[in-house]
């Protein structure tokens, strides 16, 4: 983001979020026939928080966003913005900004016309509309494109216009429905950072829907993982990634392989060998050891691995991926797992296919999850 006149923008940090509203979702259900899109979900989004609803398609994340925007009426449950119960409020009275998946920019209006529309509806004067449209274009780095037709814009530019239109009337809550999914990878990653910065500057409470786990990890203060209409885990990105509560979360976020383990009196074991853990695990049924490719390290021949949990196997295949190499390793038990080794001159030489390897897993990275309930 470019630097802007500080007087025209809310200050960083402390002031951010002052005008934002918290969202309280309590016991919301929504069914389409026999299909439960939302099954008694409750969630509080803090003032100024960036919360991501992450889930596979059909998980209910978009339905929840539609309920928040007022386009779908829940079958039961309440929604409150701040102290106002808005469960029954029509969409045009909710005052929330929304970025649609396909942007929904009005094709019969210019860029400036699109941005001015919410202001016109609010009876803002002509002069002020012009000022605010110019400022909004500036904010999303589209200076001077106000007179363009929407179909003359690139995908990335449309995305920015959609974002500008959603925030130009200074809503205190912003909803985003997979806003970056139509962009190519590089642009998407740029926009992730930009949206994040914009949120930090403006501080509105944001609910962001995505099915892209990396996007969720990049952008969010908190992630709510949703599946089959229910929240599976709600927490900060690091917590979700490092401490998944069950197999579903561990498999959905990041790449994971699983090995069945045993857990008795707080002592974990894998195939009869005790596992070194950083913390005493909570009791669980059918514990599984989570193996993430980047957490496993190939031990150099003769290296001392006594502080690590060790796995033995044979390299089945090497996949060169540029920044790293992915090794498919058949463990002695027969399970095939993936190991990622960063491409660096400092890294030990790669084993050859068919060669035996010893893999080390640090106790802090040794995570047990229960098999999905």
């Amino acid at each position: 983001m470019r630097d802007h006149d500080p007087s025209s923008q809310p200050a960083h940090g402390t002031a951010a979020g002052a005008g934002a509203l918290p969202i309280a979702i309590s016991r919301v259900s929504k069914a389409y026939g026999a299909f439960k899109a939302l099954d008694d979900v409750s969630l509080d989004v803090a003032r100024g928080e960036f919360l991501t609803l992450l889930g596979p398609s059909g998980s209910g994340k978009t339905t929840l966003l539609m309920v928040l925007a007022g386009f779908q009426r829940p079958d039961s449950g309440r929604i409150a913005f701040g102290s106002d119960d808005i469960t029954l409020a029509p969409p045009h009275k909710r005052g929330v900004g929304m970025v649609f998946q396909n942007y929904a920019l009005f094709p019969h209006m210019t860029v400036a016309g699109n941005l001015a529309y919410p202001l016109k509806l609010r009876g803002v004067g002509r002069g002020e509309i012009e000022t605010r449209v110019a400022r909004a274009l500036d904010m999303v780095q589209l200076q001077g494109l106000g007179e363009r037709q929407v179909d003359q814009l690139s995908g990335g530019q449309r995305q920015r216009v959609a974002l500008a239109r959603a925030i130009i009337f200074e809503p205190r809550i912003l909803l985003m429905d997979e806003p970056l999914s139509a962009l190519d990878k590089k642009l998407r990653e740029e926009m992730q950072i930009e949206v994040r910065h914009l949120h930090q500057r403006l501080g509105m409470t944001t609910v962001y829907v995505t099915h892209d786990q990396r996007e969720a990890l990049t952008m969010s203060d908190r992630i709510a993982v949703i599946d089959k209409g229910r929240f599976r885990q709600i927490g900060a990105p690091r917590e979700i990634y490092e401490r998944p509560v069950d197999r579903f979360i561990a498999a959905f976020i990041g790449e994971s392989s699983f090995l069945p383990a045993t857990l008795r009196d707080g002592e974990a074991a894998l195939g009869g060998q005790p596992l070194k853990l950083a913390t005493r695990p909570a009791p669980m049924e059918a514990p599984l050891l989570v193996l993430r490719p980047e957490k496993l390290r190939i031990l150099a021949p003769g290296e001392d691995g006594t502080a690590l949990n060790l796995l033995r196997g044979r390299v089945a295949e090497l996949v060169y991926q540029g920044e790293s190499t992915l090794l498919h390793v058949d463990l002695d038990g027969g399970t095939r797992i993936a190991v990622r080794q960063a491409a660096s001159a400092a890294a030990p030489p790669l084993p050859t296919p068919g060669g035996a390897v010893i893999l080390g897993l640090a106790p802090a990275d040794t995570i047990l999850v229960s098999d999905t309930p």
């Binding site: 925007a69 029509p90 005052g95 649609f100 998946q101 396909n102 929904a104 920019l105 019969h108 239109r165």
Partner: protein, 294 residues
């Protein structure tokens, strides 16, 4: 890269293959183009030629004759009727198309069937049906008299009113179908976005839905208006000889006077009017939108 400047050895072969492909595609398109030429363009050219011929000489006589008040009155009638029918079709067709576009898939197909059903029925049958309904001792007058709303039968047919009613009935599908197609393609998200930005349902309809349905409306207006301009059967049957349409003048010249020159001039004027309407609507709405560009 040794031979960057000299052509690669297979360049000629590739160019020949490209030429062959163009020729093949051209040959495939030829029957269609020939048909359009023979069926559409050639008769129009012939029509023009006839309209400026008298005996063996070129003349504008046929056009000059059209300035006679008789023709002017006919032109006015044709124009008034076409405008009136088009306006009524818009007023009836827009809400109807909107209703069908908003309905569930199943309901929409049933409603569309009702719209299309008259199109599949013979034009003559429908005109005579209106005659039965509208005439002096027809169904409508009988009912209205029976329930005591009127004392004397209304003059509903064999005049401008009857012609208008009959033509609206016949033209309505041509208004509804393009409108429906356009409306159905308006993404819901546009209306949701408008609502989200603070528009009440009626504001969203006015500011977003109506402008986006314009191409369909324009197409409907053009089709209905142009069909009206050249309409013959309904005015002839329901107008009772009192509604003298441009098309009837053509028929008169051909049938009674065998005057092909005058008939051709009338035809050329009709064609010019149709093109003028198309141009006028196109100027307002944009040609690419009417022709289905976007």
């Amino acid at each position: 890269m040794t031979a960057a400047t000299s052509p690669a050895p297979n360049e000629a072969a590739l160019r020949a293959a490209g030429r062959r492909e163009s020729l093949t595609l051209g040959a495939l398109a030829a029957p269609g183009l020939a048909l359009i030429g023979i069926v559409a363009l050639a008769p129009i050219a012939w029509l023009f030629w006839l309209s400026v011929r008298k005996g063996d000489a070129y003349t504008l006589e046929h056009y000059v004759r059209l300035l006679h008040p008789n023709y002017m009155l006919s032109l006015q009638t044709t124009f008034e009727l076409s405008v009136l029918v088009t306006v009524i079709c818009v007023l009836l067709g827009y809400p109807l198309a909107y209703l069908i576009a908003q309905a569930r898939e199943r309901t929409a197909s049933i409603l569309l069937l009702f719209v299309l059903f008259p199109v599949w029925t013979s034009l003559l049958v429908r005109c005579y049906a209106w005659l039965v309904l509208l005439q002096r001792r027809g169904l409508i007058n009988t009912w209205l008299t029976d329930i005591g709303l009127i004392d004397a039968p209304l003059r509903l047919v064999h005049n401008f009113t009857g012609t208008t009613i009959g033509m609206v009935h016949i033209m309505l599908p041509f208004m509804v179908l393009p409108l429906y197609a356009t409306m159905r393609a308006i993404p819901r998200d546009y209306l949701r976005a408008a609502a989200n930005l603070g528009a009440t349902p009626s504001q969203a309809f006015r500011d977003v839905y109506v402008p986006l349905s314009m191409p369909g409306l324009a197409a409907g207006i053009i089709i209905v208006f142009i069909l009206c301009l050249g309409f013959y059967v309904t005015p002839a049957l329901l107008g009772g000889g009192r509604v003298m349409m441009w098309s009837m003048q053509i028929e008169r010249h051909v049938t009674y006077h065998a005057d092909w020159g005058a008939a051709s001039a009338l035809g050329v004027v009709l064609l010019a009017m149709a093109l003028a309407i198309f141009w006028a609507v196109g100027r307002v709405i944009g040609f690419d939108r009417i022709l289905g560009g976007r």
